[in-house]
Amino acid sequence: MGASAKRKKERQQDFQKPKLKVGKARAKPDNFTDTSFRSKAIVLTQQSLQLTAPTSNAVFSHHLSLLTSKSDSQRRDSLAHLTSSIASRPVNSPLPQPVSVMLPSLLPLLLDGSNNVRTQLLKLLRTLPSSDVEDHVVQVLPYVRAGMTHLAADIRVTSVEVLSWLVEAAGEQVVSCAGGWIKTMNCFLSVLGWHTEESARWSSNRASFGKSGSQGRPMVKVLGALADFLEAGVGEPSTGNVEQQIEADVDSAWPFPLCQTGHHMVSDSSAPYTYLNLFGQPRDAEGEMYETREDRFRVFATRFLPAVDRGLKSAREEGGELGRASSGVSKVLKGALSYGPGP
């Protein structure tokens, strides 16, 4: 057959030896790629040829820059390094980099896809001194809220954990900063699915949105965080006498004719006039600052109390671990209600 003869020839051609000739360059193979090029100058990128090891500070900032790396393991390792270097620094020495520098690169990792990175991040955050965190709550909260409503359940859980850390570290700032009260409450309700009457009923699918994550019992953690949050926001001000003590201290700091001078001095918090919102976007009701417990309680009673009550009731009915967790929230709530809108 004609075709097969042709094919046979083709097949043979593959194994034919190329003829070499004296004085001639060897024939280039078929798949030869010309890689030669012309250039006016060739620059070799500089390699670090220093003999001395980089300072720990330099390593720290290097790892900080590595947090935007593409690979999860790299991010995780960098976070681990940062954590260890913060934790192992001498007591009372300042951080290698100020928190305001670290936060912009740390916060996006709250929404990172990888579980390991987020847990490592949480560890790192826990090592930060709470006095430094207090001033940056406004920056952290939007990320936390974004995480709490994330489609991925794992991210939701992590950000709830971060929130409880934040409440622990700087509870007063969390509930009183701009948007910190209403928006965060909204996020809680949406995580728990307590927003509408229908969704709070026992038959509805509780953690309906997104896929359930690999970590179990998210609801319990969320309820725990909610209890902390409510305690910080509208909880019974058990610290009243402490405040008075401080007041007394302040009073005693000034000689006799001056009384209550501390109140007339410039506040020693970092940004005492933020509530004026001089340079920011105009805020709506949700983004407003609710600085006193009274304000917060009023808002809570009008907007959230029915939904929370409803949700707690159904959680209690469910029983088990969830019921136990809900009882913590109920306790806080009871305390708050008994205290009322305040003295």
Binding site: L151, C187, S208, F209, Q281
Partner: protein, 730 residues
């Protein structure tokens, strides 16, 4: 237990499209999920607004995805998303300069989508997009915005004209054009207006007013845009229409296929649809056009506008424009090395006409000759120069002076073929229009004789040729021939005068082209008039006169004929004009005239009569547009020789691929297949699957002699009969 590997965790978990799909199907049940996503969007927005420049893609889901998601389900939760459109608009308006391109694009797309979902009204949309369009430095964004604005205007005008929207938009554009006359931002107004005019969405006077203001502005780009609109707006529109009605329906083909192919309901339906479309189109074709007011008609004060335009851009010496003032501009800027100098030359030639004073053009021609035409310059350059000079001189022959002409004509001896041809073109032109300026030996026989006899007079400035109807002589000739034929049929002398009455009847019929010919055919009754004069010359004209005036005019005619006899070689033109002036051309005549003209042009094209080199083609009129290619002319001839590779490429140009080299039979088969025709029986037999033929072949082997005989006999009989059914008639 082995730990489950979450490789593509992102994709599995953050499945916004999935959620979107679910929400669209059942918005009520998924309201919680949506609310969560909305909160997330809010927090992302907060993050973004606090630092718009440094916004990075954080984590799995970016703000872009969220915006996209929320936009797509925006119509399901109008209550929750009251502020959403405004938020997007704010984001875009405030930060469009610093946004990353993808997010920016997404924002624009989302806003438009919201408009489509009716969450936003179109004035708001346009008020958002248009300011960005004219202020953004990004080209891609501008293109996107322009397209979106245009489509928005189109859709809102698609069902009924949205007068309110149009008015507001036109006001915005008008203000843009008039507010700052020096800025080039008005270009966007022009582009938009022009596009909408082209699509016949905006057809009112306000549109034209915008363009008028644009062409009176200070910025040259804007001016040119505006002027172009007035020069070519309508043409564009027509082209657009043509484009839209391009889908031809091959009715004959459909009918044919319907007759041959298997008849199914579906096919019948398709055919019917096609026929309907065709019929509709026919109807449309026959309909009178909706009045297509040209832009100038809509102008409030066109004369004033024209004068204004002239005063502003042409008389003002400082203006940067190049319309007729090119004449001055050109004189200063004509080095041959300048790019697109040929198009300059072409427009110069086209700008000149026979009423341009020759002393304006003369220095220009001198300049071109000096710059382009010299021994030292390259062949192409000289060719272009000569061609340009010729084109100018065709339009204004007086612009040439004698010495220059004689110099230029000398180039006909040039070795360069392009130059030679161009020079010869100039020569032949001047043989026609100004032979006296040529040297004696260049004049040629005809021109020399004409000069001697004195009928070849050079036209003076401003002298107009008497107008005539093109092709009239053809008509006359044809008429005469017809008459002669008729005479011969009747057996009369071919020159004798025909019966007037009958002619007249014919004439009245001729007014009605579409009429049946029946009425005029019944020529049984021939009234031969008693005083039928016999005229020797062609008396076609008499027949056309009304009977009442006949006698008088006949007398006149007779006199004329005698005169014509006397001066046989008088210029034919007088005869032509007579035909047109002495009788009224009927529609039939005009139709015939058009036909004859077409035929003549066809003949001249077919016969390929040798033109003198460089002469203007017969078909070209001096008013026809001139292109740079025509100025370059035969410059290709004087170009350098081709290299071998170029030659090979040139030779290969027209040829098809080697793969297409097939036998005639294969090509035929392919063509048939393309036409959707079936194969022949022979081909079918050849292509038949081998296994299918196997059974029969096997059984053939086993046949007995008797059976074989029977089969052969049957075959023979069948052959004789002509197939199984037999030929009809046998």
């Amino acid at each position: 237990m082995v730990k489950r590997k979450l490789g593509a965790l992102e994709k599995v978990e953050a499945d916004l499209p999935n959620l979107q799909h679910k929400i669209r199907r059942d918005p009520k049940s998924y309201i919680e999920d949506f609310r969560a996503q909305h909160y997330q969007y809010e927090s992302h927005r907060e993050i973004f607004m606090s630092a718009p420049t440094s916004a990075t893609d954080t984590g799995i889901i970016s703000l872009r995805d969220l915006i996209d998601f929320i936009t797509h389900v925006a119509d399901c939760y109008p209550e929750i998303l009251k502020d959403f459109p405004q938020q997007l608009i704010d984001m875009l308006m405030q930060h469009h300069l610093v946004l990353e391109p993808e997010l920016r694009e997404k924002l624009v797309g989302s806003i438009v989508l919201l408009r489509k979902k009716d969450c936003l009204d179109s004035p708001t949309l346009l008020h958002t997009l248009f300011p960005i369009l004219i202020s953004t430095p990004s080209k891609t964004l501008r293109a996107l915005l322009f397209q979106k604005i245009l489509s928005e205007l189109r859709t809102s005008n698609s069902k009924t004209t949205n007068h309110k929207l149009n008015r507001t938009m036109q006001t915005v554009l008008f203000n843009l054009v008039t507010s700052d006359r020096t800025s080039s931002k008005a270009l966007w107004a022009i582009k938009l207006t022009r596009e909408l005019w082209k699509r016949q969405i905006w057809t009112d006077s306000k549109t034209v007013e915008i363009m008028k203001e644009a062409s009176l502005s200070e910025n040259e780009k804007v001016i040119i845009g505006g002027v172009r609109f007035f020069l070519g707006g309508d043409k564009e529109r027509e082209e657009m229409e043509d484009e839209s009605s391009d889908e031809e329906v091959d009715v004959a083909g459909i009918k044919h296929r319907l007759g041959i192919n298997k008849k199914t309901k579906k096919k019948a339906r398709v055919a019917q649809k096609a026929m309907q479309a065709h019929r509709k189109k026919e109807k449309k074709k026959n309909q009178p056009h909706a009045l297509n007011f040209s832009a100038l008609h809509l102008l409030h004060d066109p004369q004033g506008f024209a004068e204004n335009l002239f005063a502003k851009h042409l008389q003002n010496t400082r203006s940067k424009l190049k319309l007729e003032q090119k004449l001055c501009v050109l004189q200063n800027s004509l080095p041959p090395r300048q790019p697109s100098v040929t198009s300059f030359l072409a427009s110069l030639a086209q700008a000149s006409h026979d009423l341009v004073p020759p002393d304006v053009l003369e220095p220009l021609i001198q300049k071109i000759a000096n710059e382009f035409v010299s021994e030292a310059s390259a062949g192409e350059v000289a060719t272009a120069g000569l061609n340009a000079i010729r084109e100018i001189c065709v339009r204004q022959p007086l612009a040439m002076n004698e010495t220059l002409l004689q110099d230029l004509v000398m180039y006909k001896k040039s070795k360069d073929k392009g130059v030679m041809m161009a020079s010869k073109g100039l020569l032949s032109l001047y043989r026609d229009v100004g032979a006296s300026m040529l040297k004696k030996r260049d004049r040629g026989k005809e021109a020399a004789m004409g000069l001697r006899s004195g009928d070849r007079e050079q036209r003076r400035f401003g002298q107009e040729e008497a107008g005539e109807i093109e092709g009239l002589e053809l008509l006359e000739k044809w008429k005469e021939e017809e008459r002669r034929k008729r005479r011969l049929e009747k057996g009369l002398a071919s020159d004798a005068e025909d019966d007037d009455e009958e002619d007249e009847e014919d004439n009245w019929d001729a007014w009605n082209v579409e009429d049946d010919d029946d009425s005029s055919v019944d020529g049984e009754w021939i009234n031969v008039e008693s005083d039928g004069e016999i005229d020797i010359s062609d008396s076609e004209d008499e027949g056309k006169d009304r009977p009442s005036k006949k006698a008088k005019q006949d007398a006149e005619k007779a006199e004329e004929k005698v005169e014509e006899k006397k001066e046989e070689d008088a210029p034919r033109q007088s005869a032509f004009s007579k035909l047109a002036t002495t009788r009224i051309l009927t529609p039939a005549d005009l139709a015939k005239l058009a036909e004859l003209r077409a035929q003549a042009s066809l003949e001249s094209a077919v016969s390929g009569n040798k033109r003198r080199p460089g002469q203007l083609p017969q078909s070209r009129h001096t008013d026809d547009p001139l292109t740079a290619e025509e100025i370059e002319g035969l410059a290709a001839l004087s170009a350098a020789k081709l290299t071998r590779e170029e030659k090979i490429a040139h030779a290969k140009e027209g040829k098809t691929d080697r793969a297409d080299h097939k036998s005639k039979e294969a090509k035929r088969r392919e063509r048939k297949e393309d036409l959707g025709k079936s194969t022949t029986n022979k081909e079918k037999a050849r292509k038949k699957n081998f296994l299918m033929t196997l059974g029969k072949a096997r059984s053939k082997n086993k046949r007995s002699l008797v059976e074989t005989r029977a089969v052969l006999k049957a075959h023979h009989d069948r052959k004789k009969r002509g197939g199984k059914r037999g030929n009809i008639g046998n």
